[in-house]
Symmetry: C2
Subunit: 482 residues, 2 copies
């Protein structure tokens, strides 16, 4: 008889029931060829004795193996390995019959995505994290949102219908957005012009995949939101970088470029450009729209940061002008409510929305219909508007508090333009100081650096005054040290 | 003076404040060339008179336009359109200066995703929907999940950290899954082998995009989960269909195919194959693993329906065997908790998970960290296990109830094999009857048909006995009618 005490490994401390451990051991022994087709197994009585467990445990294990066709039980006669098991080379003796860890390498060739080293860096959990511009979830009406979610999951009607047809986003949320985007952004759209996504990035990905191909040219700002560039690279497009100055991306250079070669798309962040926080000026907005008609390119307008303006109203989006159907408008609720809440939207001509919806089904079927309907409710009931008002006041104060702090503590080392809105300040270190120095502290982590411009983003919205103070103090210590 | 009463449109019923409506009208008039650079505007007093509104309203509107640089206000002298506005051709007179609806066509060429007509069909909201196998969210511990979510968003630590580093999924959920997948599926993995996705479909998409290219060959079952096929088409791979019989996909045919040409991947649904509900037999599982080693192909194991087995334990996944790092294992929590809750996972060798994580950042940055940590909590506290036990019992009863109903009411029109688990029955109509007849009822909608096989999926898990009865009665009426 085979040495079953070595073939069957029982770990009494494991949470896996013993009968199951026995079954798994036998399956593994069959799988690796130790036990071959039609080979007799010990009777339950014998095996119980060998393993020192109750006979009923063995019977239960055998029954499970039988139900799954690994073995056959001939009552009152014998138990044997199933006759259907293919012939395998047995593994070497002495090799322990334990569960092997999952292989750490897939050995079939596959495509490699190149990452910037900065993105690859593991996020540890230091005391202070300076993010690149996140809202403060402590202020967010997340409680109301989740209360509504719970109510929706207990309604009979919602139950049957949240499951399906949500690739484009629930009708309820799209209808609410038609009103919301008209009020806040002057967009005159219908629910057919809207696709609900998992956030601004997904909208960029969908647009890039459908618009761009190997021969496409897309213009972006320099610097630019780095993940957007990677998204256009993934679509194999040729990326043309045009400098962003204090009025935004330079439209004169865009015009010259369009005269030299066919441009398919221009990606712009018109409010609080990432990372520089610059807002695109009125004249350049109008120029860009004109160029888009003249040279037939799509404007991908990433307006992720529309909602936070402190000292003036926001500009109306390019998408709200007469644009001959050349603008794809992208927005997000993650910056409004909770950075973890992955709900954003794309506004575009219907024919494009339809294709993005079809494509989106392939990527991830759709979003969470309950969460979408809960969001629709808090928009409808005015909760979102009230929140925004409160949050705007608070972030405005935090921006000014940070401004004073920076001037007082770091004035001699840095320069910046205080943005009129948004959730971050773009800070440049003066000559003689380097942002690399700011990475040497274990208790402080800054999420977004630009080495070339010797600058970093200081997201102020998610921190209260005390937290802002600690963060600035930590930076001060690191700079002074040099 | 221009006819400002026609240029500025005020809608007193609108929720947009009047000063803003005035500002928007003037912006639109500047944008479309009616108002040109440096053109004088009426004084606030004049314009108030023309429009019949209070002068303060005009001043507020002008101030906003000034802050945004559309106009310039020279105090006590005049108000004029900004000098920076580019020269535009004015629009035709008589054309009303109202907000134009968003264009319904994007006029720049873009890629079109081909959809099956069946998927394109709009979901109306009939009384009875027979889904293709969804859980009943009324049984789900969704309340506990949301309660935990709320608690997490109010914790200081969680606040700072839910924002970032969630492309691969939160560490907490991945650590919990290491234990959970070991206990339930015999997988011996670490948190580096796991990527949290928005569900099984996203895992398939990621795998397909990284594994397949134009020259790749992938084997799938016939019939197959249709969105999987579209996903492989999207990756430009050549799809080879191999028949699924009552033991699952035919591995002898796979072997023959591998001898003829280079196969890169095989996509299998080993438990309750979609749509047929067939489970892959033990001998074919072993054969498939052997072939994968011999011919070096990846097995994409879509085990979306692992958790529901009524009359026997599930087979251990192919991924739990010794597979030389050739298996990518895909699972989902949407089938367990709530079809709207978009959380799934991929288990694969670390080098592949790393690349999928990098790719996933480009698609949608990451998932909802709070929801992931809330799920981790209910797994840890045993809530998920208790739910699963309760749900399994309930769905088992519903399956048997439906079985009896089908035999009694529809026995003469249909045939099916009662599945040992899962959430749906695959029903074939006898000769002389056609599934097309089942689409003619307005109050009943069946989500998944197969015309070629004259069959449809009857998802029973989401319906209580009364609902099952109504659904079968509705089908009976439609069949008898013919």
């Amino acid at each position: 008889m085979l040495p079953y005490e070595h073939i069957i490994i029982i770990d009494k401390k494991s949470k896996v029931p013993i009968y199951r451990q026995i079954a798994i051991s036998i399956i593994n022994a069959i799988r690796n060829g130790t036990l071959k087709a039609e080979m007799r197994l010990p009777s339950s009585r014998e095996l119980a004795k060998i393993l020192g467990v109750h006979r009923k445990t063995i019977i239960k294990g055998y029954e499970e193996l039988d139900a799954q066709d690994w073995i056959m039980i001939i009552p009152r006669k014998y138990v044997a390995v199933s006759e259907h098991i293919p012939l395998l080379k047995p593994k070497k003796w002495g090799e322990p019959n334990v569960l092997r860890p999952y292989e750490s390498n897939l050995n079939i060739p596959f495509r490699v995505i190149e990452e910037n080293t900065i993105d690859k860096k593991d996020i540890s959990y230091p005391e202070i994290i300076i993010d690149d511009g996140h809202p403060d979830v402590r202020l967010s009406p997340i409680d109301d949102l989740l209360k509504t979610y719970r109510a929706l999951t207990s309604k009979k009607y919602a139950i049957k219908n949240a499951n399906i047809g949500t690739a484009q986003g629930t009708l309820k949320l799209r209808q609410e957005l038609v009103k919301y985007l008209s009020l806040t952004r002057g967009l005159n759209i219908s629910e057919d012009n809207i696709l609900i996504t998992h956030g601004a990035q997904m909208s960029i990905y969908l647009a890039a995949q459908l618009l761009l191909r190997r021969s496409s040219n897309i213009i972006v700002g320099k610097p630019n939101y780095p993940i957007a560039n990677k998204t256009f690279e993934e679509a194999k497009a040729n990326i043309i970088e045009i400098t962003v100055d204090d009025k935004g991306i330079d439209t004169d250079v865009i015009e010259k470029t369009c005269k030299r070669k066919k441009i398919d798309a221009v990606y712009v962040i018109p409010h609080h450009h990432y990372p520089t926080t610059v807002t695109l000026s009125v004249e350049r907005r109008m120029k860009l729209l004109e160029l888009s008609k003249q040279f037939s390119f799509v404007i991908i307008e990433d307006d992720y940061d529309y909602d936070y303006h402190y000292t003036s109203s926001p500009y109306l989006p390019l998408a709200s002008s007469n644009h001959n159907g050349n603008v794809i408008y992208i927005g997000s609720f993650s910056k409004l409510l909770d950075p973890a809440l992955r709900i954003g939207f794309m506004v575009a001509p219907k024919n494009f929305i339809d294709q993005c919806t079809a494509f989106r089904k392939i990527i991830d079927v759709g979003g969470d219909g309950y969460m979408q309907n809960a969001l629709a409710s808090i928009i409808k009931e005015g909760e979102l508007k009230r929140h925004l008002k409160k949050a705007k006041k608070c972030y405005h104060e935090r921006r000014d508090f940070l401004d004073a702090l920076l001037k007082e503590k770091l004035g001699q080392y840095i320069s910046y333009n205080l943005p009129t809105g948004g959730m971050a300040v773009w800070i440049k270190l003066n000559d003689g100081f380097s942002v690399e120095q700011l990475q040497l502290n274990e208790s402080l982590q800054i999420v977004r650096f630009d080495y070339e411009l010797n600058s970093f983003r200081f997201g102020f919205a998610s921190m209260n005054e005390q937290e802002l103070q600690s963060a600035v103090n930590a930076i001060e210590k690191m700079i002074v040290k040099v």
